[in-house]
């Protein structure tokens, strides 16, 4: 009990310094939380991917289409429950700065394969019925203040011309990792217009999504799909949805590495700030430690005293930092251009990591002062002038 009392008294001796140190740690925890949140936001697509979905695309690149005829051949393969397909529709909504995915999908099967996009039954029926309808995610409803029955005009780029889609459905994301900002239109409608305008582009889809029964079979089944189309004009490459998403991550790995490095640098900075404080405190108190030793306090007590102070400061800073991280991250999300990160949440794992780092820093910052306090001889300590 005495030790705790001493720790508190020591902390309050230089109120300003303690306050500044706590603040410094809090700020670093906020920065750490922010960076990790950006990293997890990049990985949102990977986290959202399902283990029982395979993506089949053109072997050269996803920008080349696959014949519609592949659908039947894929669905005949053993172990596949359901096959659907989609196209990147692209185009410009309002202006070129509005980022969200615009996909042409098979109205009949798409929502069966993506159960995480939750849509009311009657809205889905309306989407299937009406050629020029679309379904949008909840986030788009808020972002553009839309409602069912509104028209979304799109200026096509890959599919030239002016397109108008009537909103017939709004889906809700089932999981936190589900992208709430997709716009889905009917592939069948796209196909009809292509047949009229550029018949050479009709009859193609962007990629196939196959739902498989057993995720453990994914490698075998993807191999079988690709085997089917070997030496055809459009060879395929199939992989799990996760692998597909991860291949996108490889192309932004530079920025992710940079952020990883920075989050370590931040921990380094917290360590320096707190370490500095502890070194200074210990230097000022060399004489007191000698007195304590003379009075019969053991090395163990000194460790408790210095380590306890360091840990208490670190923990207080950590708690304040975590408290500040929530509003900071919301603020940051507000500055970012809309749609950059459809999913931007402070994950529990981020909080856990931040807490562990704060604790570790608390321990580490105490090492040097403890070593100094315990190794100084009583006589030298008493003689020391601060």
């Amino acid at each position: 009990m005495h030790i705790i009392k001493l720790i508190v008294k020591n902390m309050l001796r230089h109120k300003l310094r303690t306050l500044l140190t706590v603040l410094g740690i809090a700020i670093a925890v906020v920065a750490f939380g922010l960076l990790r949140t950006v990293v997890t936001a990049w990985y949102a697509g990977v986290d959202a991917s399902s283990a029982n979905r395979l993506i089949t695309r053109h072997s050269v690149s996803f920008i080349f289409p696959l014949p519609l005829a592949y659908k039947d051949r894929i669905s005949k393969i053993d172990g596949i429950d359901n096959v659907t397909y989609a196209n990147w529709f692209g185009g410009v909504y309002i202006d070129k700065k509005q980022f969200f995915a615009r996909l042409a999908v098979d109205a009949e099967t798409f929502f069966d394969v993506y159960p995480e996009l939750m849509i009311p039954k009657e809205q889905l029926e309306a989407f299937k019925r009406e050629r020029n309808s679309c379904v949008i995610g909840e986030q788009l409803v808020q972002r553009y203040n839309l409602k069912i029955g509104d028209i979304m005009p799109i200026e096509g780029d890959i599919y030239p011309g002016r397109w108008e889609f009537v909103i017939r459905g709004i889906y809700k994301p089932r999981d936190k990792t589900t992208d709430p900002s997709n716009m889905l239109i009917q592939w069948q409608y796209l196909e009809e217009r292509m047949k009229e305008e550029t018949p050479s582009r009709a009859g193609y889809v962007g990629w196939y999504i196959a739902q498989i029964k057993d995720p453990n079979n994914s490698a075998f089944i993807s191999g079988q799909i690709d085997e089917q189309f070997k030496n055809s004009p459009a060879e395929t490459k199939s992989e799990t949805e996760r692998a597909f998403q991860q291949s996108f991550m490889a192309s932004v790995s530079a920025i992710i590495t940079a952020m990883d490095v920075m989050s370590f640098v931040i921990i380094g900075i917290i360590l320096l700030v707190l370490g500095n404080t502890m070194v200074m405190s210990a230097r000022e108190r060399v004489r007191e430690y000698a007195v304590l030793k003379t009075l019969g306090f053991s090395t163990f007590h000194l460790i408790g005293l210095i380590g306890g102070e360091s840990l208490t400061i670190a923990i207080t800073g950590g708690i304040i930092g975590i408290g500040l991280a929530f509003p900071m991250i919301d603020g940051f999300a507000a500055i970012l251009p809309k749609g950059w990160f459809p999913i931007f949440n402070l994950e529990p794992i981020t909080l856990l990591l931040a807490s562990i780092s704060a604790l570790m820093v608390g321990f580490l910052a105490a090492v040097f002062p403890i070593q100094r306090a315990t190794s100084t001889k009583i006589v030298d300590g008493l003689r020391q002038v601060g």
Binding site: G24, S61, I63, K96, D157, S253, A254, V265, V273, G275
Partner: protein, 391 residues
Amino acid sequence: MKIPFKYITRNLKTRRLTTILTVVGISLVVFVFAAVLMMAHGIQKTLIQTGSDENVIVLRKAATAEITSIIMQDQANVVQTIPSISKLSSGKPFISNEIVAIINLPYSQKEGGLGNVTVRGVTPEGFQLRQNMNLSGGRFFNWGSREIIVGSSIKKRFKGTELGDKIKFGGDEWTIVGSFDAGGNGFDSEIWGDQIQLAQAFGYTGAYSSLLIRLDNVNAFTQFQEAFNKDLRLQTLEVKREKKFYEEQSEDMAMFIRILGIAVTIIFSLGAMIGAMITMYAAVSNRTIEIGTLRALGFRRRNVLFAFLIESLSISIFGGLIGLFLASFLQFFDISMINFGSFAELAFSFSLSPSIIINSLIFTVVMGLVGGFLPSIRASRLNIVNALRSS
């Protein structure tokens, strides 16, 4: 009467560990600050260099990149007839009708990853329209053959892109016969081949991705643009200066890096200032008797204030210089990242500019001043008698 500078430097030496810790903290902050700005600058520099002032590019109106743009043959023919296009000695208009596609190639370092690479089908004019295109190995491809040449940073980053290797796409195998160096601009991240051959392979019959045009002179742009916009057959297309086009491509990525960088730097610098403040407050309280003595010797309050401010500034400038020095080594590193503008990967390097150096130094000075200001005020306000009496 000024307090000698030697006194200040001696103080820094006496409390070596604290000084070092603070210097390291500040240098880390400046390092990150400079690194982020260098990254954003690197992307922009690479893309802006890619364009040339005299060239204009024609794309489909809504297209954000060449890859999503389609120009039909008859439209391309109409564009040719617009005045103020420069003529070649053969009398042909100086235009390159190009097609652009993206293919996947495996990375040479990251296992299992596939990168997006731009393949560009060019015409002989395409080479003349771009300066700095130098062959760095092998030879140019033969027109009418299934041969390709690769940019210098493609060779570095992707597997199977050495001279003599074959890449399979578009239903055929393409032999790499040469590599080129475009002077660090965006073309270094591309693969080039014969437009007619590639158009066939990718099924771009009767259509192009973009038209690159040389105008009579730099000032002819407005005139050209007016004629272009008036033509009813070209309503679905738009024309841009080539430089502007590449500049726009870099905007999103550079903005993202800047926003993130500035957010992180603000937070970091608060941390560093707090660190400096702690150090300086401690310096003041440790030296209360000294300060009292100085004042008793006749040094003025503002002398004490300046002495402490200079001490804090020396720490932060020293740290800042170390940080900048370390950051300058980043220039030797090339990084590559997907450019959301074009959806293909772009290789660039960290790039230091005078304005980044100046900004980092200003930032350093501000950190030192802010961190040292309050403690210095306290030092200068100390009462002589109390200060001398304190233990």
